[in-house]
Amino acid sequence: MSLEEFKNRNTGQQSYKMLDIKHTPQSGIGKFGQVVERTVKGELFVGLWVTLREMGNALFKDNMHTIKYPLEKLPISPRYRAIHDMLRLLESGHYRCIGCGLCEKICISDCIKMDTKYDENQRKEVTEYTINFGRCIFCGYCAEVCPELAIVHGGRYETASEQRASFSLFEDMLTPIDALKQQKEYDGFGAVSPNADDTIKQTPLAY
């Protein structure tokens, strides 16, 4: 395999239209000829026509591209990585986080911190959890590494606030208990793949 082939990264279906660009004329006459040619061909008027047509489309055919942002919002991808959400278990309503600390460890900007303790039910309990959003770069590693799909990225991208701490506590990120029904599963990195059942090996549990 030649290197050329190896470097060809155009893997998709290509439908490029090649422009017929001539070489810039070097002689004075040639340049003059080019000016005359372009003048006669009216290339400039094509440009004018395009902009005028677009204006017409925008004004009269409702082809305006502006989103009046605070009033209208674009739908965002489920894989969008905005302020984190802490999800709850749908059955019990208990938060999913088990306090394993993997997000804390993987965080490349070192902005996640958690405190845990041994609780009275002999479980690991998260007593405090914060994300320093001054440092977070929304890389999504925490959501990817989370074994419980407890920490995920939500859609709250409007993150201007009076206080830096506004979004950063566990309670702020946790799905409100009364909004449990509206809780959406996360499809981004780290989520279970649709064919997960086919790819894992089963443990025999015949009893």
Binding site: G101, T116, Y118, K124, E148
Partner: protein, 818 residues
């Protein structure tokens, strides 16, 4: 005793010692053989069976098979790998998959070996048994659900600690199907069969362990089943920063790691979360492992207090301190003595220093000739004058390890009988002698072990004077031949048949006896017992304890010890009373009495420098400063600052007095000005172990020789025997000093301990009259103690127990019930 042999492992030749286990030989040569249940310094458990190797074509367990010259070992074959994989699969059966919350957090050997052996599917199954997690004591937390019953904890507790506080118990699991026996690999089946039947339980039949709470079981646990109660679910191991250090509590000076991390989200200051050790090579005690949070938190430098301290030091006649200081600090104090003529008073090191001096003259050494590592390799150990259980954990571990690992024997001379020591092995004989008879004990040892040729005539005849012969009547079984006439019924013939019949015969025998044995409270049959004990014994050792330093006849005792070392081919090691007593004894010229204006460093005084946070000027505690400690293994070991300290150090005071250095550790090479120390910079001192288990920490003190004098110890006298109500200055097991007391996981209180019977007689609270003053104590019953002597702790320097006891360790007191 050790001969070098050559074995072949996987086709490559390696040198090792004869009698070494294959596993250890491989490990020492950096060859990986998987093993879960084996512990380096303990006996093979044979629980996991994963260390299977092929030696000379036969399948053996590497942890249990000894290397022979020319042996060819293959560490892995197709068959062995299959077996190992099956074992790991079995270990993974029903093991909880909550690795996320497990405290082992990735330091898990189960995880490692599962991955190492590429277990990616499971072929076995069995219904699970509900196993509750329980607290075994105020320290230990056991999660049976996570336990893989490798029995490392059981092994280490028995073979190393000597507590034997845990054992395997019934699990109540379902029985394995018979068809499995044929279908699965043999070793895996055997391992599973055992695993399915057992969990770990306290060995005393209750729900609580009766042990010294050393936590070594936590250290050796390969999974997260054993964790300290304080540590459970508080942090992940990977978040902790490991700081290599030396434990500051007793003179063992064990290698430890302080593991720190910011305390919480709110409090960003570093906090020690736990202490870990290189458990293959060093065993910690409870104080070392759990008594770590004794740091002295200060907010910045207190200049007024500092100036007061400088004034106080200038004014001072005496500096009173204890041995909880680094070598560097000791040298600083000595510099003060040399430059400004301050008196240095240190109650614990003073007696030890004198004893070393007495010992040095006849022995020709600056220091005792051996150390505890060497003692651990001997097979006959004697302890004199040490309350082994309390004085020094490492000495106790050595005593125990000899019994368990070397098939050894031991003699334990102490006025207080200790059931723990007696239980350490079949061949342990305890002499519970009267207080003050330590000389007699040493004479007995001399008599029993000495090469008489090496002794002076006078000593020899003195020893002979204790011998006497006694005629005793013993019953002996004699085989007698009896001839009977038997009539054969069938033929009617009579026949003479001779038959041997046992018969008890009383016989008078002359036995050589030693009156010292009787004097020391020994058994009449000691001579016979001793003969049995001596069988197959090759190397001998003597542990010398603190009682001897505080004995009124310390000089004579020291001479005797020197004589024993020389004439008995015996390895001798002494237990320094406190953390750095040896260092202080070598570095400082100590004075006996406090005089005039006194500055106390962690001790009472007119002006107190204190790392406890209660003094006039704060000092850093041992986990907040760099420096070196001299431990009882005669090793100068470095320790690092685990936590930050913002206040003044002793070196700052030295600078104010115009004899300081830039940093405290700049004093480390200056130690060389004193005998035995070397001029090595602090940063060049290593702190770790090699794969072979070689200690690579700091440097060994040079045991400088000098001309030895004639050694004719004086005869012992019973003049100093004390009787009546006796108090013994001795700390509880996990308490050594103010700092261990400050730690929140050390619960032992400052109370009087007595045997169960005595405690019952004394009631809950007593007043102890020392003559000069009285003190109030709570009474705590110590199940392991026997006899009437009570022990009084000295770990609180504020109570000044040393002054109350004076130059003795045993004191007649009056105890009144309150």
């Amino acid at each position: 005793m050790s001969n070098e042999i050559t074995i072949k492992i996987d086709g490559v030749e390696y040198k090792t010692q004869e009698g070494e286990y294959i596993l250890n030989a491989a490990r020492a040569n950096n060859i990986f053989v998987p093993a879960i249940c084996y512990l380096t310094r303990c006996s093979p458990t044979l629980a996991c069976r994963i260390c299977l190797v092929e030696a000379d074509g036969k399948r053996v367990y590497a942890c249990n098979a000894k290397a022979k010259d020319g042996m060819e070992v293959t560490t892995s074959t197709e068959e062995i790998l299959e077996e190992r994989r099956a074992i790991m699969e079995v270990y993974d059966v029903n093991h909880p998959l909550q690795c996320g919350v497990c405290d082992q957090s990735g330091e898990c050997e189960l995880q490692n070996y599962t991955l190492e052996l590429a277990v990616d599917s499971q072929s076995y199954m069995i219904p699970d048994t509900k196993r509750e997690s329980v607290d075994w004591s105020s320290i230990l937390h056991y999660d049976a659900g996570l336990c893989i019953v490798c029995e490392r904890c059981v092994t280490v507790c028995k073979d190393m600690m000597g507590d034997a506080a845990i054992k395997t118990g019934p699990r109540g699991g379902e029985k394995l199907g018979k068809e499995l026996k044929d279908s699965m690999p043999k070793d895996a089946y055997a391992m599973w069969n055992k695993l399915q039947k057992s969990v770990i339980i306290p060995s005393n039949g209750t729900a609580e362990t009766n042990c010294s709470d050393c936590g070594e079981c936590i250290a050796v646990c390969p999974v997260g089943a054993l964790v300290s109660r304080d540590f459970v679910y508080t942090t992940n191991a990977w978040d902790l920063k490991r700081i290599p250090a030396t434990c500051a509590h007793c003179s063992s000076g064990c290698q430890i790691y302080y593991e720190t991390k910011p305390a919480s989200i709110e409090d960003n200051t570093e906090k020690i979360f736990r202490v870990t050790n290189e458990w293959n090579y060093v065993s910690l005690c409870g104080a070392g492992r759990f008594g770590y949070d004794f740091e002295n938190r200060v907010n910045g430098k207190d200049e007024i207090a500092f100036n007061n301290a400088v004034d106080a030091l200038t004014k001072a006649d005496t500096i009173r301190f204890n041995s909880l200081i680094s070598n560097e600090e000791a040298l600083m104090l000595q510099t003060l003595k040399e430059k400004y003529g301050k008196k240095l008073v240190n109650s614990d090191a003073y007696a030890f220093q004198k004893f070393l001096k007495y010992y040095g003259k006849p022995s020709g050494h600056l220091l005792y000739g051996s150390d505890f590592k060497e003692i651990m390799t001997t097979d006959f150990v004697i302890s004199v004058g040490a309350s082994l259980r309390n004085d020094n954990p490492n000495a106790r571990y050595a005593f125990n390890n000899i019994q368990k690992m070397n098939k050894g024997a031991g003699l334990y001379f102490h006025p207080i009988a200790d059931s723990l020591i007696a239980d350490m092995g079949k061949n342990v004989v305890s002499f519970t002698h009267k207080v003050g008879l330590e000389e007699a004990a040493l004479y007995l040892i001399l008599d029993l072990f000495a090469d008489k040729e090496k002794l002076e005539e006078s000593t020899k005849s003195y020893l002979d004077s204790f011998h006497f012969t006694e005629t005793i009547t013993i019953k002996e079984k004699v085989m007698e031949t009896v001839t009977e006439t038997v009539v054969d019924e069938a033929t009617g013939e009579s026949k003479e048949v001779s038959k041997k019949v046992p018969k008890m015969v009383e016989k008078e025998v002359e036995v050589e006896r030693n009156s010292l044995v009787t004097l020391l409270g020994g058994n009449d049959k000691f001579a016979e017992t001793f003969e049995k004990m001596m069988k197959k014994k090759e190397s001998f050792s003597l542990i010398v304890g603190e009682d001897l330093y505080y004995h009124p006849k310390a000089e004579n005792l020291a001479h005797l010890v020197a004589l024993i070392e020389k004439s008995c081919n015996m390895k001798v090691a002494m237990i320094p009373p406190k953390t750095n007593s040896l260092g202080v004894a070598l570095l400082c010229e100590l004075d006996e009495k406090v005089e005039g204006y006194t500055v106390g460093y962690n001790e009472n005084g007119d002006f107190r420098l204190s790392a406890l946070g209660d003094g006039d000027l704060d000092m850093p505690a041992m986990n907040q400063q760099e420096g070196t400690l001299t431990n009882m293994h005669k090793r100068v070991t470095p320790t690092n600052a685990a936590l930050e300290y913002e206040g003044y150090e002793l070196n700052d005071l030295m600078n104010a007095l115009e004899c300081g250095e830039l940093l405290t550790i700049d004093w480390t090479p200056r130690l060389a000005s004193k005998r035995g120390f070397q001029a090595l910079a602090f940063d060049d001192l290593p702190n770790g172990y090699t794969n072979e288990g070689q200690e690579n920490r700091g440097y060994l003190l040079k045991n400088l020789g000098r001309r030895s004098g004639k050694n004719e110890p004086k005869p012992f006298s019973e003049k100093f025997v004390i009787e009546g109500e006796i108090a013994y200055r001795c700390n509880p097991q996990r308490q050594f000093n103010d700092f261990s007391d400050k730690a929140h996981q050390i619960f032992e209180t400052f109370s009087l301990s007595a045997s169960t019977a005595k405690a019952k007689a004394l009631g809950e609270k007593v007043e102890v009259d020392f003559g000069k003053s009285t003190l109030l104590f709570d009474v705590v019953a110590d199940e392991r103690m026997e006899g009437d002597i009570v022990s009084i702790p000295d770990f609180k320097s504020a109570n000044d127990i040393y002054t109350l006891f004076g130059s003795d360790r045993y004191k007649t007191v009056t105890i009144r019930k309150v």
